[in-house]
Symmetry: C2
Subunit: 133 residues, 2 copies
């Protein structure tokens, strides 16, 4: 019944890499990713390159060669990655049920009044059967 999420759950470093890729415009080079992450991580260029290639192996990125340099582009959208991670957490913590996770977040996490208002609006929209996305 529960559809298998065949999307990989990203590791810590992989999230960093993918955030940099997603922030780019379509295809990015290893150098661009490296430069985007250098300040935050201090990683060596080859570290970034290794990780990018591992993500290609996993099907999370695809790569093409342009003038002897690899261009990487995401095969997994950020939204999908978030969904996979959230479902993974729900599976671990609540046997796969999303609702208790959302309950927890709303009850225990600090959300601004504006956040709350927007969430309420989203719930209301759904109740009215609006289509989006």
């Amino acid at each position: 019944m529960a559809r298998r999420p065949d999307h990989p759950v990203l590791s810590e470093a992989e999230w960093k890499l993918m955030n940099a890729v997603w922030d780019g415009t379509g295809a990015v080079s290893a150098r661009e990713v490296w430069e985007a992450l250098r300040a935050e991580t201090g990683w060596a260029y080859t570290t970034v390159k290794t990780q990018l290639d591992r993500l290609v192996q996993k099907g999370v990125l695809s790569v093409t060669i342009d003038h002897h340099a690899s261009q990487y582009r995401p095969e997994l959208r950020r939204q999908r990655a978030v969904a996979a991670a959230a479902r993974d957490l729900a599976r671990r913590a609540f046997g796969g049920r999303m609702a208790p996770l959302v309950h927890h977040l709303i009850r225990a996490e600090r959300l601004s009044p504006r956040d709350r208002a927007e969430l309420r609006r989203m719930l209301d929209d759904d109740a009215e059967g609006k289509v989006r996305e």
Copy 2:
């Protein structure tokens, strides 16, 4: 902001172990955990024992000896573990902001009308100033 003591993010197997411990009454023996998980995991007794001891090392469980047998009890509550995991995901995916994560869950995940109604109720309760910081 993050003034709380750092709670560890549990791994896959650790969640299974901890779920079994939390489901127990206070303190549980390795044997009880093993028996609770045997059907689901097929793990050997020593696997469970090793994992429990690693969780003690990490401070997630504490242990006492009773009649030559270890009794484990949680030092981390389920709620805290969920919070740590959720914050970890928010950090990875959204730079630490919880709201986009909640947005995602409400927008993209299937929630029953009853779930939605209850979530709305929770938001309304909060809006009425029941618990404010």
